[in-house]
Each structure stands twice: as structure tokens, then as C-alpha cells.
């Protein structure tokens, strides 16, 4: 009976030790995966920033003004303001 208990204890210890080794090995590689994912996240975030930079550069008034000149746009000439006709009832008051 004692021998069986001792054998069982050894077996449990062995299984736990083996499990710990497997878990630690897994965590070690997970650390590497995590670092890789972090690098990819940083890369994508940087690409987003680069695209935002490009948008800002292309929509600056300084650039648009130069492009407009190059494409042959010109400033508006006379600008007329259109005022709506007053209702007939108010014409008399006017």
C-alpha cells in the first residue's frame, strides 16, 4: 500500500514537472511571437502615420495653389450677390 502511494506521488510530481517544462517552453516561444506582433503593430501604425503625412502634404494650400496655377485655374472675376425678391406684401412697405 505504501509503495503504491509513493509511486502515485512520484507519478503526479513527474506529470506536473513535465507540464511545467511544456508550459515554460510555450511561454518562451510566445514571448518571441509577442515581440514579432509588436513589431508588426508598430510597422502598421507607422504606415498609417506615413499615409496621414501624405494626405496633409497633398492637401496643403501651398501645394494646391501651385497645382491650380499649373492646371490653368484662375481667380474668380466679378462676384455678384443674388438677393431674393421680397414677397409682394412687403414691396409696398419698401
Amino acid at each position: 500500500m505504501n509503495r503504491k502511494i509513493i509511486t502515485l506521488i512520484f507519478f503526479i510530481v513527474f506529470v506536473l514537472a513535465f507540464a511545467k517544462i511544456i508550459l515554460s517552453a510555450g511561454l518562451a516561444t510566445t514571448g518571441a511571437n509577442l515581440a514579432q506582433l509588436e513589431r508588426e503593430r508598430v510597422k502598421i501604425a507607422q504606415e498609417n502615420l506615413n499615409l496621414e503625412e501624405s494626405i496633409v502634404e497633398l492637401s496643403s494650400l501651398a501645394r494646391i495653389s501651385i497645382e491650380a496655377n499649373r492646371l490653368g485655374f484662375s481667380k474668380a472675376g466679378k462676384i455678384a450677390a443674388l438677393t431674393p425678391d421680397l414677397p409682394i406684401a412687403l414691396h409696398g412697405l419698401q
Binding site: A28, A32, Q46, L49, A62
Partner: protein, 566 residues
């Protein structure tokens, strides 16, 4: 004692001494050297990195980034690892970083690479991504890159003096200087974070190891009242005006008179904020807030408003002393054109910009009241605008004023103002009598909340009735004061000014500062604008700055979609 006993005791002593030695060494390594060894172990197993905080952006009213951040790189060399010929390396890198002058760049790089007493040397700062990739493509061993953030100005040097620039403080940390960058440095800079984690021999993080971190707090973004389209247009027209009239300098500032919001602020000459290190330091100061000038005739509406508010004069009163020059002590006050207008009405004094008439008004008002109102209009105090570098013009002490000082102050000579003080004072006439605090920043944007700038009334200066009366006088000036190409269908209030520049105790008649200040539409002003030109080729404001003012105002009225009123 037997021989055996003697040997035994000797061995005992030797063993005891050896044990004591071991105990002492253990004590030394485990107790005395423990902190040092712990730190050494930590440095091998732990890495600590600072996470830099993103500096806040500065946005215009349409949320376009006037100032933002761009990815940049510091190129460095590790001299111990550079195997290739240094001359060749310098030549190749110089071609990439300075294609316009590769020879000069090569010489500088060669000097750096030839250093003997250090290993790490900086080769180029703030290079962009494309340049970095080109240098990387050379595959030179010993050349490395460190990523840094660089301030980026999509609209180039637009509003440079209002924005300020970002440099480095004594500790090498980023710091804003002048303008918005300086005033709001603490708000923009954020707080760096750090990450400290245990890593294995290959440098990978150990998930179940110890770690500590604090997230960085990004700097807060600022949204301005500045309208990007208006700013661009005003800068373009101001620059052309300066060139056309061959002025040495010029500035324009536009304010919403009802709220104190600064809609545009421009000055020339300006500079490129990215090249602050090689810029003449005298250009850093924003002349709108940091330089004073004698305003000349644009000051007259303030004195006129004071006299009407105090009921010292009425608008229909006649000037009984306007038939010739005025003698005050040893000084003679004359009109600008040598013409006199006897019995002119108060409005005509402004229309003709009559200095003799203004002396009459000043005498009716009284010296003490004149100083009181000049102070009430804010001329003796800073405006507290949210920009670094404001220099408030102040008046001399009251007991130092003599009769001639009151006379000359009435037409804007002998007093000094900054442009922002002047535009704020005229805004008090435009908005019905209240002095407003000017502001450039409309919102401070956090991750969680937005802080809005509310309009702030400093004090009431004149009554609404007085403001209306003086507005009508200024409308008469704009309509009758000169042959200008005014916007059709709008009532515009304005005043020209030509002030001689004091040089070495006397006024130089050939050197003037010309100004035009005004607001539109007169009945419900949407903007107050001041433009000044320094030392134009033609000395009179009505011939130079007034046409520039009206040209800009036409575009502004269209841009703001303000329909004509008649």
C-alpha cells in the same frame, strides 16, 4: 604538549583562518557588493526603454494640421565597426543628404568620421524616410539609424512667427520657443513613458518575468481660431503689397471684435521654423505682439470716442481753432497736408485727419481724461494674448506728461502701441464698447475632453451709443477720406495712419510706418483688421496700405459670404 597535539592545533587554526576568510569574502560579495551586483544583473536581464510622447499638433479652425510630427531619423556611425574607406563613405552619404552641395557635406562628414577619441558619432540629423532608405541601400557596416520625431509644417512658413518653433533645452529635451509652441509648451509636450521588462539571452521578452511600465501621455492638440483659407489669402496679398510699395516690413492681424478670436496673423519678413538654428534671431519676435510703433492717425478714433463718451464734445460741434497751425509752447502743430478746415465738424476732423482738430478735441477732453481713456482702451497693459513673446507698450507716468504730450498723443505721436493693442482698442468701438481679451487657441483637445476658450470681456470702455457715433465717423472716413477701390455695397469703417519713425530723438520725415485699421460690415462687424507697412517707398498710408486693406477686405467679405447691404 606532544607533537601530535601541536599539529592538530595548528591545523585547527589554519582551518579556522580559512573559514574566516571564506566568511569574509561571502560577506563582501553578498552584503557589501550586493547592490552593485544586483544592478549589474538587472542591466543584463532587464531592459528599460523610454517611450517618447508624441508632441501635440496645432490645427487650424478646419482641423488641418498647421504643425504636426513627421518620422525622421538620426544617422550615426560606430567608428569601430566602419571597415570601408572613410573618404568613400563620406562621399556616398554626402551625395544623398546634400545633393545641392555634396562637396561641403563630404568635408564635414570626413571630419566627423576621422575623430579618434570616440566611437559613436552623429552623421546627419532629421533625415526623412526616403533619405534613410537610400543610405540603408548603400549597405555600409557601422552606419545605424535612430528614429526621432520631427516637427513638420505642411503650409511651410505660413504664420511662422505666430507658431514659434521647437528646439532643445539645456538637457537636450524638446522645448517650444516663442509664439504658440512657447506659450503652450507644457500642454503640447506630453509626458514620456517607460517600459522595463525581463528579457532572455536572445533579447526576447520573458512573459512570466518581471516587468514594469508606464504609458506615455501624448501631448494635447491645439485647435486655433485661425482660418487657413483667410490666413493663406492675407499672407499672399500682404506679401504682394510689401513688394509693390517696396516696404521693409509689413504685418496684418484680423480679429473677431465680438469674441476676441484672432482669425489671421501674418508678418514679413518671416522665417522657416525648421531652420531656426540658422535664422537671424531678430526674426523670432512676432512684431504683432512684440514690437511697438507710434500709431499716428489710426489713434484718433480712440481720442474722439473718449471725448464723445465724456460729452466733452458732440458729433455736430464745430472746431473753433482749426483755421491755422496751433502753437503749443515752442512747438507748432500743423496738418499733414498744410490745409486747414475752419469750423469743421468732428466727423470732418477724422475725414481730413486733421491734427489741429484733434488738438482741439484733446483740449476739450482734458489731459487727465485723455490718459484715463488711453488706459481704458488697453494701451498701457498687455493684452494677455496666448502667445509667448508679448511686449506691452506702456505709457509714461502721468506726472511726466506736459501740454505738448497731450496734444501729440491726440494724433498718435509720442505714444507707442503694439499692433495687437491697437486692433483690440478699435475692436471696442466695433463691438459696441467692450474691450476683449484676444485669443489664438480655440480648443485644447485631450483624449477624453475638449477645453474651449470662452470670450472674455476685460471691461466696458465706451457706451454703445458712443461706439455707434464713432463708427459712423469712421464710415465717413472710409467713404470720403480717399479715392480707394472699396468693396461695392458694403459700409466699411476705417482710418488711415502715417506716423514718422522716431530716430535718435527726432522724427525722420522720410521714414514712416503707414497703417490702416478698420472693420466691416460697419453695422454688424465680422472682422477688425489692422495692416501696417514699415518704410514704404511712398510715405503716406492713404496711397499704400489703404489699397492693400481694401483689396484684402473684398476677398474677406466674399470668403465669409457676407452679402452686400445696399
Amino acid at each position: 604538549m606532544s607533537m601530535t597535539s601541536w599539529r592538530y592545533k595548528t591545523l585547527q587554526v589554519i582551518f579556522l583562518l580559512c573559514n574566516l576568510l571564506v566568511i569574509f569574502r561571502l560577506f563582501y560579495w553578498q552584503i557589501l557588493s550586493s547592490p552593485r551586483l544586483q544592478a549589474l544583473a538587472e542591466s543584463q536581464h532587464f531592459t528599460q526603454e523610454e517611450i517618447p510622447a508624441r508632441r501635440g499638433q496645432i490645427l487650424t479652425s478646419d482641423s488641418f494640421p498647421l504643425v504636426t510630427n513627421k518620422q525622421a531619423f538620426l544617422v550615426y556611425g560606430l567608428l569601430s565597426q566602419i571597415k570601408s574607406e572613410k573618404n568613400e563613405i563620406a562621399a556616398k552619404i554626402a551625395e544623398i543628404i546634400n545633393p545641392e552641395d555634396p562637396k561641403a557635406a563630404k568635408e564635414e562628414l570626413k571630419d566627423v568620421l576621422d575623430k579618434k577619441d570616440i566611437n559613436w558619432v552623429p552623421l546627419a540629423r532629421s533625415v526623412d524616410r526616403e533619405t534613410k532608405e537610400k543610405i540603408e541601400g548603400l549597405k555600409i557596416s557601422g552606419i545605424g539609424f535612430e528614429e526621432i520625431a520631427k516637427r513638420y509644417y505642411p503650409e511651410a512658413s505660413m504664420s511662422a512667427q505666430m507658431l514659434g518653433f521647437v528646439g532643445r533645452d539645456a538637457n537636450g529635451r524638446e522645448k517650444g520657443y516663442f509664439g504658440i509652441e512657447g506659450y503652450y509648451n507644457r500642454t503640447l509636450e506630453g509626458k514620456p513613458g517607460f517600459i522595463k521588462e525581463e528579457r532572455d539571452a536572445t533579447g526576447q521578452p520573458i512573459l512570466i518575468g518581471q516587468s514594469d511600465s508606464e504609458s506615455e501621455i501624448a501631448g494635447r492638440d491645439l485647435k486655433l481660431f485661425i482660418d487657413r483659407g483667410m490666413q493663406f489669402m492675407v499672407e499672399d496679398k500682404l506679401k504682394k503689397g510689401i513688394e509693390r510699395f517696396q516696404a521693409k516690413a509689413g504685418l496684418a492681424v484680423i480679429m473677431d471684435p465680438k469674441t476676441g478670436a484672432i482669425l489671421t496673423m501674418s508678418s514679413f519678413p518671416n522665417y522657416d521654423p525648421l531652420k531656426y538654428a540658422v535664422t537671424d534671431k531678430s526674426l523670432f519676435s512676432n512684431p504683432v505682439i512684440g514690437q511697438t510703433f507710434e500709431p499716428g492717425s489710426i489713434f484718433k478714433p480712440l481720442i474722439m470716442a473718449a471725448a464723445i463718451n465724456e460729452k466733452a464734445i458732440r458729433p455736430d460741434d464745430k472746431c473753433t481753432r482749426c483755421d491755422g497751425p496751433r502753437q503749443i509752447g515752442e512747438y507748432t502743430i500743423n496738418t499733414w497736408d498744410g490745409k486747414f478746415h475752419p469750423d469743421s465738424a468732428m466727423t470732418d476732423i477724422l475725414v481730413y485727419s486733421d491734427n489741429v482738430g484733434m488738438v482741439f478735441v484733446s483740449e476739450k477732453l482734458g489731459g487727465q481724461k485723455e490718459i484715463e481713456y488711453i488706459k481704458k482702451f488697453g494701451i498701457d497693459e498687455p493684452t494677455n494674448i496666448d502667445l509667448e513673446g508679448e511686449m506691452a507698450a506702456t505709457l509714461r507716468k502721468e506726472d511726466e506728461w506736459v501740454t505738448i504730450d497731450f496734444a501729440t498723443a491726440s494724433f498718435g505721436q509720442g505714444v507707442a502701441v503694439t499692433p495687437i493693442q491697437m486692433v483690440r482698442a478699435i475692436s471696442a468701438i466695433a463691438n459696441g464698447g467692450e474691450l476683449m481679451e484676444p485669443h489664438v487657441v480655440a480648443q485644447i483637445k485631450d483624449q477624453d475632453k475638449i477645453l474651449e476658450t470662452k470670450p472674455k470681456v476685460i471691461r466696458r470702455v465706451i457706451s454703445p451709443t458712443t461706439a455707434k457715433v464713432v463708427t459712423e465717423m469712421m464710415v465717413a472716413v472710409a467713404e470720403r477720406g480717399g479715392k480707394w477701390d472699396r468693396p461695392k455695397g458694403y459700409r466699411i469703417a476705417g482710418k488711415t495712419g502715417t506716423a514718422q519713425i522716431p530716430i535718435a530723438g527726432h522724427y525722420d520725415k522720410t521714414k514712416t510706418v503707414v497703417s490702416f485699421v478698420g472693420f466691416a460690415p460697419a453695422d454688424n462687424p465680422r472682422f477688425v483688421m489692422l495692416i501696417t507697412l514699415t518704410e514704404p517707398a511712398l510715405t503716406w498710408g492713404s496711397m499704400t496700405v489703404a489699397p492693400v486693406w481694401f483689396d484684402i477686405s473684398k476677398s474677406l467679405l466674399n470668403y465669409l459670404k457676407i452679402p452686400p447691404s445696399f
